[in-house]
Amino acid sequence: MNDKPVIETRDLTKTYTMGDIVVKALRGTSLKIYENEFVAIMGPSGSGKSTIMNILGCLDVATSGDYFLDGIDVKKNTANQLADLRNQKIGFVFQAYNLLPRTPAIENVELPMLYNPNINAKERRERALEALRSVGLLERAASMPNQLSGGQQQRVAIARAIVNDPVLILADEPTGNLDTRTSFEVMEIFQKMNALGKTIALVTHEPDIAEFTKRNVHFRDGSIFKDEMVANPRNATEELKKLPPKEITI
């Protein structure tokens, strides 16, 4: 870990107004995430963890406070500039995978690069194949999402998130729809990415998933309640070996 924060927020607040009711989703959150960190953002629903994810992902802007992404003051950006930031600085992984239906895996992975004018068709294909290789799905490049298992779909989504080489991977409950084994498989990929130097922030409410990360940030009622380093992160590869063998149905 070095001293360069990928993410730095100072006193972020976010309030939603629904009719007469004002909901304070964030009450002054200051958070720094450094390069090559692997952070789990935890908390019960309504704690503000989704709000902070949206703000960190430049999908939403804070009501007040500062947010620096890779040294860029996000609040000074227009909607179009935010779109470019999302394209080039951030890779998203969603709970529901959000792959385009009836579209081969390779084209799903190519998608973010279609919105990046600096990448030509040849480079796009090469980088998409490389990303699929790194999640171990090279041979499924031509498969449609409905021909892939949930775990495989999420791995395609991870390939899509890393293909533009972002400074930060933001995962919103990436294992929420998966069983234990495939959850661990996905965490194995994340750990591999992290070992290769990627900075990852993932939202989860499953403590055993958070144990695979290096740092856990707990939210409660719109502010950080606990921020601790994980003493001995679990190794997903090891854990997978401990699981009972896959049930084989004939």
């Binding site: 949206n54 992902g57 999908l59 939403d60 909607a79 179009n80 779109a83 470019d84 999302r86 394209n87 080039q88 998203f92 969603f94 529901a96 959000n98 385009l100 239906p101 009836r102 579209t103 084209e107 998608l111 973010p112 279609l114 919105y115 990046n116 004018p117 899509r160 533009n164």
Partner: protein, 406 residues
């Protein structure tokens, strides 16, 4: 954002849902096909009306003597006997905007060849008549000025006369027929013209030299009417004024109200019929355009449904870096794609339909470049107009909400 990428995105998403794409296109296909067909029918009928008039010569000017007035009893227009060959010569001499002119006398008579006989119209004309009326003599020749002056007994006959006297396809050239017992040598056969727009058979006619018919058959000195041709369509009205002045002077008439002749131009008549068919064409086109608009609304409906259905996709695209305008352009390009491809298919079907209509109904069909451009242009226009609203709706979605949309 590269434009080529946007086209690729739009193309991919249209190809992903072929049924939806085809259903959306059907409206445009029908619209464009009907525009092309309707405009083809309209254009065809108006040009066939125009050509049936221009067979008379577009620049033709007809000068007819007024009604005969016998002790207060007035007869038909054209029965007056006050127009003479000298009038015709004066018009030719003093009216600079006339390019050709022929006096006409007209009668009808029994014609006989061998055991066959036939009653038909006989026109006495000079050689310029063929220019004014745009008549051609593919077989044989025209009579000469000398033959006219010498009242030669020669004639040029129409196909109907050939058929009735000689039998269909028989060679009548050089044969001698008798018209009112006077023998005439057939020196030419008129090009077949068929019926005119009022159903008259234009081939049931015999043309002879003016003086032959006037002197030998009618025995008069007056002229039935004078037909002239202005040098071009624009000076027709000027020519009419000049002729009016010449004739009033020669007939010693001061007030145009008292003129003992009437002048009609071909353009007057053809304009009336031309404008009727133009109105018809415009009506048909409007109807077709309405069906195109209905097609456009179809595109809009399906695009709106498709955008709702694809909310999460839009959210995802925004999350991974699509700007509002990228989304707007994507859906706009999809709509224009649909319209253009639909327009292209519609054009093909339209050409097919028009030819079928032409074949079965026997209507003349003309598909002009203009109607193709119009059909295509309006399809694109419809695509942009009706694609814009759904596309704008998509572009204004908020990514967070779109991503969570169930």
């Amino acid at each position: 954002m590269r434009f080529s990428n946007l086209i690729k995105i739009a193309y991919r998403s249209l190809m992903k849902n072929k049924l939806r794409t085809i259903l959306t296109m059907i409206g445009i296909i029908i619209g464009v096909a009907s525009i092309v067909t309707m405009m083809g029918i309209g254009e065809g009928s108006s040009s066939s009306i125009k050509s049936s008039f221009s067979s008379l010569g577009v620049n033709a000017i007809m000068i007819m003597p007024g009604a005969q007035n016998n002790g207060g009893v007035r007869s038909d227009a054209g029965t007056g006997q006050n127009m003479t060959v000298e009038d015709a010569d004066a018009i030719r001499e003093f009216c600079p905007d006339i390019s050709a002119l022929s006096p006409i006398v007209r009668t009808s008579a029994q014609t006989v060849y061998g055991s066959q006989n036939w009653h038909t119209s006989i026109f006495g004309v000079n050689t310029e008549y063929f220019t004014v009326r745009n008549l051609k003599i593919p077989k044989g020749t025209c009579f000469t000025m000398a033959e006219n002056k010498s009242s030669a007994k020669v004639c040029i006959i129409g196909e109907t006369v050939v058929t009735n006297l000689f039998g269909a396809g028989a060679n009548a050239l050089g044969q001698t027929i008798r018209i009112n017992k006077i023998p005439f040598r057939v020196i030419g056969i008129l090009e077949k013209k068929g019926q005119n727009s009022f159903g008259q058979d234009q081939d049931d006619v015999i043309l002879g030299p003016f003086y032959t018919v006037q002197k030998r058959m009618l025995g008069t000195t007056n002229v039935g009417q004078i037909i002239a041709s202005s040098t071009n369509e624009k000076v027709t009205n000027k020519a009419v004024d000049e002729i009016t002045e010449i004739l009033m002077q020669r007939h010693k008439i001061l007030d145009p109200e008292d003129a003992d002749f009437t002048i009609r131009t071909q353009s007057e008549i053809s304009n009336i019929f031309g404008s009727i068919s133009t109105v018809l064409g415009v009506l048909l086109t409007i109807m077709a355009f309405i069906s195109l608009i209905v097609g456009g609304i179809g595109i809009m409906n399906i695009m709106l449904v498709s955008i709702t259905e694809r909310t999460r996709e839009i959210g995802l695209r925004m999350a991974i870096g699509a700007k509002g305008k990228d989304i707007l352009l994507q859906f706009l390009i999809e709509a224009v794609f649909l319209s253009l491809i639909g327009g292209f298919i519609g054009l093909g079907l339209g050409v097919l339909f028009s030819n079928l209509v032409g074949l079965f109904a026997g209507w003349p069909i003309i598909i002009t470049t203009n109607s193709v451009i119009f059909a295509f242009g309006s399809a694109t226009f419809i695509g942009i107009i009706f694609g814009y609203l759904p596309a704008r709706k998509a572009a204004h979605m908020r990514p967070i909400e779109a991503l969570r949309y169930e």
